[in-house]
Amino acid sequence: MTSLAEPGTRAAEPAGAPPDRHRNGQRMRRGALRRRSTLVGWSFILPNFLGFALFTLVPVVAAFLLSFMNWDAYNPPTWAGVHNFVRMLNDQSFWVALENTALYALGHVPITLALSLLLALLLNKKLKGIAFFRVAIFFPYISSLVAVAIVWNLLFNPSSGPINQFLHLIGITNPPGWTASTTWALPAVIITSVWKDMGYYMVLFLAGLQAIPQEYYEAASVDGANGWQKFWNVTVPSLRPTTFFVLVMLSISSFKVFDLIFVMTGGGPGRATLVLSQLIYQDGILNGQFGYASAISLALFLIVLVITVFQFRLQQRREN
């Protein structure tokens, strides 16, 4: 596990800064130091960890145990072995939802990442009224979900919505049916969610940009770097921890997506926008098959875990 550590520890340090950690000599002292730093480390983590372990970790582990049982939430669970997993592999809806979730993530993650970074760069300036623009970009994220779902559905209205009217105007005679079409419903949902989320991640990028010491840019200017070179040689590497964070969070939240799709299309038409979280909700809470729903959650969890570990490793390799 230790190998997964250190994404971007030294990202903001100018290349070639001397490593200065292992400076201590004697072994005896090192053992004592290690014990001390373990104590200190835990003392920092503990306040958060207590709440986290009790109220998140324990229920999560309980849910995973349930995936090997039959449970209707009312009567005592009974052992089911791998039955739920066998059923899952034969469940057409599971594969449909998995495919939709993956497609959603493939669309949502790169577009949101690129747009939010672009917006952060654009708005990380001293300009008159910049606060206003920042709030505006953040607005979609704070608008009520019900409003967002309704208004985008109206915009996507197949026969008389503004989007299709515009497409007509520029000569597209047979515009897509968007949320009423099995092929275009997922793109419609992706567009809406990118629009909604980009302000959120922009805020994270803005905070990340603030961490870049101005001196780096000055040093690059002295070396005669132009704007583009400064971006590639200073901004991008210095922003790596933030980018990594955004990428991980964005991937995880894409795989877990629920709210927006649920209120916008409810998974329809048919199963065109059915995603894994909704399937879990449907089979668990609505149909009362918590064991089976937990099995799907475990599968979703493992998929996301693999992706996250992969991202960690990639990040680490880049650092070395």
């Binding site: 990202a11 958060n48 979703l300």
Partner: protein
Amino acid sequence: MAVTSAAPVRASLRARRARDRVGKAVLYVLLAALLIVVLLPFLWMLSSSLKDNVDVLTVPVQWIPKDWVWTNYRDIWSRIPLAGYISNSAILAVTITFLQVLTGSFAAYGFSKVRFPGRDALFLAYIATIAVPWQAYMIPQYVMMQHAHLTNTFWSLILLQAFGAFGVFLMRQYYMTIPDELTEAARIDGLNDYGIWARIVLPLSKPALASLALLTFVNTWNDYMGPFIYLSSNNLWTVQLGLRQFIGQYEADYAMIMTGSVISILPILVIFLAGQRYFIAGIATSGLKG
């Protein structure tokens, strides 16, 4: 910049200023265009909040209300106890944000600046739980809360949401960008880890603290499912729960929902404007050199 004669400098300075002005103009135009796209749904919300319910869902979209129903903004306070809902939301959001920022930044220091065995495995466990959809464990969680007799109290939501892994992860990533020389130097000056956290790391991470606080506040403020599952008494309800009352079994009063939504955005707006000054280029870095 090593320049020897003065005249070309002035000329190039002038040229650059002109270029900056053009750049700025282009930027403003770009931002204005962006603004329209981004604010469109909000404008729709605003206009719907000033309509009769029957005029809300019309096609083609009616951007300007036919009749301006200003009374919506008066009536909503008497149709539902909105003021109470707002203060409930505020209590929850402030408490949860405060605890999340405090414990999150504290734990993040342990995960980024102190080395000890098992640290990274523990951190991975943190991140991993973010990957589990809440729908999967909300029932086990509820059963626990019920046994602790905490359902239908604010405590249940505070305990569930204040110790999230998100804040720890965010702050850790940010602390990673603070050079270790800085903390080492402080250690040599005689500060212990708690002192380093409070005096060096915390002041340096204002932009990250501000963004964590802002995002946590917004998420709590807009949360629907959490309060929905845990709060059963009307006098404990939050704004998001209160507004859902307008969606009935067979019909929905969208005009009132939009009126309430516009009102419920205002507090977030204030928070954003207060917090965003920490995102102004340049201020955060001043502490790094010195």
